[in-house]
């Protein structure tokens, strides 16, 4: 009897198909990680100027290239349409929800969007939310989001300073800045050219990492 139950459980565990991936548009990242899994929560975290938003823009541009619709739940109203358009984001295919610094509203809006369905990519940007506020988001809320996105073709990406989705995230990526590119002589003709970033996979715990460069707009 027990063997039969175990066999059933084993069968069910093997039944879950591998998720489909949305390419990030950054070649080195796609080579290392395969992209961002659909139907799952992906946590992209790192300090200020660590390349999180550049990855986010690249993902949104890639989704637009696939003629999919994107939604951005912007908790702290930090989205810059000009730099996103320069990164290839199709603004007319983007639904932007500005939450004015209210993380609770951002969670509510994300939940509503996931329930409505039909978006290829939903980004919840908590990147400028103070860590103490982000920590207060209950695990139940994260599980609710994970449950809502499960078995859908939507990729849910959360941008944060530190990983808070914890067990609910299928993929967690830590970003860090490695180098800033300046040109010209300091003080008179110096120009800001861009920055290089490193990306490390923190979950699942299989070593994988990538490096990429992003050029400044000026």
């Amino acid at each position: 009897m027990a063997a039969a139950i175990l066999q059933t459980i084993d069968f069910k565990l093997h039944e879950r198909p591998a998720p489909e991936f949305l390419p990030s548009g950054i070649a080195s990242l796609d080579f290392a990680l395969g992209g961002i899994p659909r139907g799952c929560v992906t946590d992209i975290f790192g300090p200020v100027s660590s390349g999180r938003t550049s990855i986010q823009h690249s993902l949104m541009a890639q989704a637009a290239q696939n003629e999919e619709f994107c939604a951005l739940v912007d908790a702290s109203d930090a989205f810059d349409p000009a730099s996103a358009a320069a990164a290839g984001v199709a603004l007319d295919r983007l639904l932007w929800i500005r939450c004015g610094g209210n993380a609770e509203r951002a969670l509510q809006a994300t939940d509503l969007l996931l329930q409505a369905g039909g978006f290829g990519l939903v980004v919840m940007d908590l990147g400028d939310i103070p860590p103490e506020t982000a920590r207060r988001i209950s695990l139940a809320s994260w599980y609710r989001l994970r449950r809502a996105v499960e078995n859908t073709p939507t990729a849910l990406v959360v941008i944060e300073k530190a990983p808070h989705a914890r067990a609910c995230a299928t993929l967690a990526i830590e970003c860090a800045r490695t180098r800033v590119r300046w040109s010209g002589a300091p003080g008179c003709s110096q120009l800001f050219r861009g920055a290089a970033f490193s990306v490390e996979r923190r979950k699942p715990l299989r070593p994988a990492g990538a490096q990429f460069e992003a050029s400044a707009l000026r």
Partner: protein, 405 residues
């Protein structure tokens, strides 16, 4: 039905009995009474009920085809039942003038001594065709009661409006939703009957203080779900409640052809319009209408300028990928900062400036009442964070505009 004294209410009376009503002329209507037997009894009883309801004196004739009924009603007073298959005999005594022949044919018939339907029906077919042509053949068929044309029912005006006067003023939203739900149900049922949908809805509430409260909902695609409409109005009225109790509700829908889409396995994912509209309304209720939509760049050099427009599902082509560019995060509003001896300090941000590029001097809109002029720098702090700061040329104050990320 024919009203010799004028048929002012004739059409309305006939439409009470059947939706298939043809207004043949101003004082005559033809009604399809097929199936009315279950409600009113025999053919004679149906005719009697109609005569009673008409109010004024009317002639009613029942026949197997519209033309025979029309001529019998105009030719005989009271109620006439034209026997099926024997219409020619029944109509025989009617004058030829009832057929409204052309002046030329009427003159010819008068010269031949043809006075009534019987005389015309008795003429040889080939002779009539040879001498009076196609029109003569048609008139002869009518005289024999052999018309076979279909009925051309009157189309009721396509207005999708409902209104309700309330017995007592409504103060709360919940009872109003009950009333609105019923009106929306009726409007949607009528739209469905005509295979139409609504592209816009207008709600007018008459208030107790003699004022009016009007709300309009514009839909991105034609829809016909009363539940969705009710929820949209509920969310809208929660945000924009009327100023006084409501005494009358008026609802109008703007009809449009329903959306037709061809789905396919390889069509990219997109939200369902009905669900999306409801989700957008819910989010607008939570975060404010102005905070939900698609950003649109404005044709100006003013830093950070954009406008929000309604999110619609544009089915245009996607964009080509661009090389990875450094994203910028904006602080709204900009954070006031102090820059002194190469040190930046602002609430939550402090550090020594280790690298800098600038100034980038920009200005514009000096010809308007809202000009701007500033010197921008890109800076790197000791902790490695990259910011864009600027000094406002008008006030001389420093601000952090945002961070590179």
């Amino acid at each position: 039905m024919h009203a010799p004294g004028g048929g002012g209410r004739l059409l309305a009376c006939a439409q009470d009995f059947s939706p298939q009503v043809e207004q043949t002329d101003p004082d005559t209507v033809i009604v399809d009474i097929d199936g009315l037997g279950h409600l009113f009894g025999t053919v004679h009883e149906i005719a009697q009920t109609m005569a009673r309801r008409a109010g004024s004196p009317v002639n009613i004739a029942v026949a197997s085809n519209p033309d025979a009924a029309f001529h019998a009603a105009r030719g005989f007073a009271g109620i006439s039942i034209v026997p099926e298959g024997d219409a020619a005999k029944f109509l025989a005594s009617l004058p030829v003038a009832l057929l409204a022949p052309t002046e030329e044919i009427a003159e010819t018939l008068a010269r031949w001594g043809i006075r009534n339907f019987r005389d015309l029906a008795a003429l040889p077919d080939l002779g009539v065709a040879a001498r009076l042509g196609e029109e003569g053949v048609r008139l002869q068929k009518l005289a024999r009661g052999e018309g076979d044309r279909p009925l051309h029912p009157v189309e009721p005006p396509t207005r999708f409006e409902e209104q309700m006067e309330l017995e007592y003023p409504l103060e709360l939203l919940e009872p109003l939703m009950f009333v609105l739900g019923r009106l929306l149900g009726d409007v949607c049922a009528r739209l469905e009957k005509r295979a139409l949908a609504a592209i816009g809805l207008r709600l007018r509430l008459l208030l107790e203080n003699s004022g009016e409260h009007e709300r309009a909902i514009r839909l991105p695609v034609p829809m016909r779900s009363s539940r969705v409409f009710l929820k949209l109005f509920e969310l809208d009225l929660e945000k924009h409640p009327p100023a006084a109790p409501i005494i009358k509700v008026y609802l109008a829908a703007e009809p449009a052809k329903p959306r037709t889409t061809q789905n396919g396995l390889f069509i990219p994912l997109s939200p369902e319009p009905e669900k999306l509209e409801l989700t957008l309304a819910r989010m607008a209720a939570a975060v404010g209408e102005e905070n939900v939509g698609s950003p649109e760049l404005v044709d100006t050099h003013r830093p950070g300028a954009f406008r929000m427009r309604q999110f619609t599902m544009m089915q245009g082509p996607g964009r080509n990928a661009c090389p990875t560019s450094l994203a910028f995060r904006v602080f709204r509003p900009p954070i006031a900062a102090k820059v002194q001896s190469g040190f930046l300090s602002a609430p939550g941000i402090r550090g020594k400036i280790v690298q800098q590029a600038g100034p980038w001097r920009t200005s514009g809109d000096w010809w308007t009442t809202n000009p701007w002029a500033r010197d921008e720098w890109d800076i790197e702090l000791t902790d490695g964070a990259l910011y864009r700061i600027y000094c406002d040329a008008q006030t001389g104050r420093w601000f952090i505009e945002g961070s590179y990320d």
